[in-house]
Symmetry: C2
Subunit: 432 residues, 2 copies
C-alpha cells in the first residue's frame, strides 16, 4: 500500500540531510531518529509541538495523498503550462517526480540542498524546511482538461486523443459564482502535511523548479482537515461547527476504495493510462459564517440533519449510525427532506460515495466586513459523471445548506496512478 | 507574570466543557486532564498530533500574547467600529474581555456553549473548537489612531484628549505599496495558538459577538512563527529560508522588556492609561520569493549578513554571536554595509530593540504566476518614534533585502495593559 508508513526509510540520514550543515542540531536529529518507533514518533525541537515524522513513500501503485490518513494542513496549487513544448512538459514531470520523491522522504528538493551548494549558484532547495521532519508530507499530481486541448480545441502536447471522456470542465451548477482566477488549471499539485511549513515548502520548490515552464494559476492554503480517510482518525469539524466527513470512504474499506475511488482498467478505452488513478474535484466553498452564526441551534441541526454535539443523525444513535430518513417528526420526517445528510446520501445516488479530503480555510476578509472563510472541498472519485456531478446538482438545487454557501472556485483534474521506481508521474500518458 | 502557564486552572472542567455534550469523548477529556503535567502535556485525540495544552491567563499586569512564548499559528484581525455610541463600544470591550478570558482557558466563548443552549436560539459558541484543548491561545487587543479621531479630526468616543502622541498613522516609507484594505483599523485582535483552528475560532467568535458594533476591516492568517520570544524556543525560518528573530527581545531579559517593550508611566502625560501596555506595529511584507530563489547562495547570505545554514553572522561564530561589522572581507567589510543585519542593528539605532512576533503567510497567488507570500511582521515596542520608524526608514533606504520586498499592509495600534479581575481591556482609557 502506498500509504503505509515506511519506517525502513533511512530516517537518520533524512534527519541529518534536511538539517544539513546546521551547527548544533545534529544531536537533535539523532534524537528524532532514535525516537522513530513503529512508524510514528513525537519529535521535539525546542518547544515546538511534537509532530508526526511519518514518511509516506511517493512511489507505488497509487499516488499517495488519496487514501493516506488525511494530514492536518494543505497547500494546493494549480499551474498553467507556459510552454508549447512537449519535451519541456515531460522534463518538468520528471523533475517534479524526483523532487517529490525526495521531499516526501524529508530530504531537500534537490541533491545540493539549501546550503551545501556553490555560493555562486542558487541553492536547489529554498531552506525554510531545514530542521523539520517529513511531517507526513504527500504530494499528489493531477492533469486538467486544458492540458489536453486549448480553448480552441487544439491538441497542445500530442495527448488530445488520450483525454478521458469524463475529464471536462465541470458544468455550471446553480449558485456557482466562480472566480476564474480560483478555478481550472492545466496541472495541479496537492501537498498535505502535518506541518504547514512543510506543505508550503513543497509547493514553493515545485514552483521554483517549474519556473519558465509553468506559472501558478491559483493556490489555496487549508489550515484544518475536514475529513477522515482512515478509521484510525477522529472526525474533525468544519467552520459550521459540525463534524464533517463521517460517512467518508476510508482506507480500511478496500472494496469501497476499488469501487468508488480508483479508475478501472476498462473504464475508458481512450484513457488506459489513468487506470489506478482517480478524478480529483476541488470546490472552493465560501460559507456565510456570520449569517450561519445567527441561526438557532435547532435550525442549524435541521439544515445538516445531524446533531451539532455528537454528529449523530437526527433520527438517533451515534455519529456513525445510519440515518433513518423515514422516521417521522412533528412536521414531516425528523431528518428534513432538504437536510444535507439526506440530499447527498448514497441511497439517493445509486450508492455513489466519494473520498473527501477537504480543508477549512480563512483567506482574510470580504467586502461585507466578514471573514472570507469556508471549506476547500476536495474529493477523489472514480467517475465524476456518476460520483460528483449528480450529487452536486442535487445539493445545489435542494440542500438547505446552500443558503449559507457560495462556490467561488472549481476544478477537475485526472490524478494518474502512482509512479513506480524509475518512472515519472503520468509517464503512461506520454509514452505508453 | 501574565505568561506563566497556569496548571492550577480547572483543566478537567475545561476539557469537559469544550467537549460539551459530545458523546464518547468524556473519557478522552479525562485522559487529557490526567496528562497535564508541569504546565505541558502531549494531548492526543485519535491520530491528531500532540498539541500543547498550555493555558495562558488572559488577566494580568500585561496582556498575554506579547512576551508569551510565540505560538506556532496566528489569526490577526483589524476591525472598524460601525457605531457612534461610546456605551456600545464599552459594552463590546466588556463582552470581548469576558469571551477572551473564557476562550484562553479552553472554554466556549459564552456560557451556553456551542451545543447546550436552547434549540430556538443561536448558540453562543460556534463549535469548531469542540474537543480541542486551550492550545496556548492568547488574545491581545489594540486600539488604532482612528478610534480616537475620525478623518476630520473629530472626537469619536470622547477619548480624543487621551490619544497617545505616538499613536498616529505610520508615515509612508519608501517602497510602501499599501493596500488600504489590508491596512489601518480602529481595533485589532491578535490571536495566537498552537492549533490554527483554535486561533480562527477565537477571532470568529469575537467577530460574532461584535456583530452590529464592529466589522472586520482585514484579517491575516499566519501559518508559521518567525520569532522567538523566549530563550526556551528554537529560532524558526522565514520564507527566505533564513533563521529569523535571533536577536529578538526575549521574556528572559526583564530589563530589556521594561526598557524596550512596555510603555512607562511617565512616557506620555496624556496617555497614562497606556502604562504597562505597548505599541503594536503590523506590516504585511510580500516577498518576491521567485526572484529570491534565483539568487546565488552567497548573494542571499550577503543580503542578510548571516549564513543560511546556522544563522551565524558572516563575521563568524554561532547563531547568537555578535556580528563584527568592522571585520574586513575581500571587498569592504565581510558583513556588507547594506546587509539586513547591519542596517537594523541596535548599534546604529541608539540601542533600540523590538520584540518581534511575526508569522509566515501564503495567501494564494499573484497575477505574475507566483505565490502571494511573505512575512506578516508584528512588533511590540515602547515607542514607535524611537523603536520602529527610524529603523524602518533605514531599512527602506539602505537594506539590500528591500529589492525582494514589497510592503502591502501597515498598521499601528496601542495595546493597553492587561485587565485585572473584574476589569475590561482598556478600561482605564474610558473610565480612569
Amino acid at each position: 500500500m502506498t500509504e503505509t508508513p515506511t519506517p525502513e526509510q533511512p530516517t537518520q540520514k533524512r534527519g541529518l540531510s534536511r538539517r544539513g550543515l546546521v551547527g548544533g542540531t545534529a544531536a537533535a536529529a539523532g534524537l528524532a531518529a532514535g525516537a522513530f518507533v513503529a512508524g510514528r514518533a513525537t519529535a521535539s525541537e525546542g518547544d515546538a509541538p511534537a509532530r508526526r515524522t511519518d514518511a509516506f513513500s511517493f512511489r507505488g501503485e497509487h499516488q499517495a495523498g488519496i487514501t493516506t490518513p488525511a494530514q492536518d494542513r494543505l497547500h494546493f496549487a494549480a499551474f498553467d503550462v507556459t510552454t508549447g513544448s512537449r519535451a519541456q512538459l515531460i522534463a518538468l514531470l520528471q523533475a517534479w517526480t524526483e523532487a517529490a520523491d525526495r521531499m516526501t522522504r524529508g530530504l531537500p528538493a534537490g541533491e545540493g540542498g539549501p546550503t551545501e551548494g556553490a555560493s555562486n549558484l542558487p541553492p536547489d532547495d529554498t531552506g525554510e524546511a531545514i530542521g523539520l521532519p517529513a511531517s507526513g508530507l504527500t504530494i499528489t499530481f493531477g492533469f486538467g482538461p486544458s492540458l489536453f486541448r486549448d480553448e480552441q480545441g487544439r491538441d497542445r502536447f500530442g495527448i488530445a486523443d488520450r483525454q478521458p471522456a469524463a475529464l471536462r470542465t465541470l458544468p455550471h451548477f446553480p449558485a456557482d459564482m466562480l472566480d476564474p482566477e480560483r478555478s481550472y488549471g492545466d496541472l495541479c499539485v496537492q501537498a498535505c502535511a502535518d506541518d504547514p511549513q512543510v506543505a508550503v515548502h513543497a509547493i514553493r520548490n515545485l514552483a521554483r523548479i517549474g519556473f519558465g515552464t509553468v506559472a501558478v494559476r491559483w493556490s489555496q492554503l487549508g489550515f484544518g482537515r475536514t475529513s477522515t480517510t482512515s478509521t484510525s482518525q477522529s472526525t474533525p469539524r468544519n467552520l459550521f461547527g459540525f463534524k464533517d466527513g463521517t460517512a467518508n470512504v476510508k482506507a480500511e474499506e478496500p472494496a469501497a476504495v476499488e469501487k468508488h475511488v480508483w479508475v478501472g482498467a476498462e473504464d475508458d478505452a481512450k484513457a488506459a493510462w489513468l487506470a489506478g488513478g482517480s478524478y480529483l474535484v476541488t470546490r472552493r466553498i465560501n460559507m456565510h459564517i456570520e449569517t450561519w452564526d445567527r441561526q438557532p441551534l435547532g435550525d442549524q441541526e435541521g439544515f445538516v440533519g445531524r446533531t451539532k454535539a455528537s454528529g449523530a443523525p437526527l433520527s438517533g444513535g451515534q455519529e456513525h449510525s445510519e440515518p433513518d430518513f423515514e422516521m417521522p417528526g412533528s412536521e414531516g420526517p425528523v431528518i428534513p427532506v432538504d437536510a444535507h445528510v439526506r440530499v447527498v446520501h448514497p441511497d439517493f445516488h445509486q450508492g455513489a460515495r466519494m473520498l473527501r479530503r477537504g480543508y477549512n480555510f480563512v483567506d482574510g476578509s470580504n467586502p461585507l466586513g466578514g471573514l472570507d472563510a469556508g471549506l476547500f472541498f476536495i474529493a477523489f472519485v472514480r467517475d465524476p459523471d456518476t460520483h460528483f456531478i449528480p450529487i452536486q446538482n442535487a445539493m445545489a438545487k435542494s440542500d438547505a445548506l446552500m443558503e449559507y454557501l457560495k462556490v467561488t472556485g472549481s476544478a477537475l483534474f485526472a490524478a494518474p496512478p502512482g509512479a513506480a521506481a524509475g518512472e515519472y508521474v503520468g509517464q503512461a500518458l506520454f509514452e505508453a
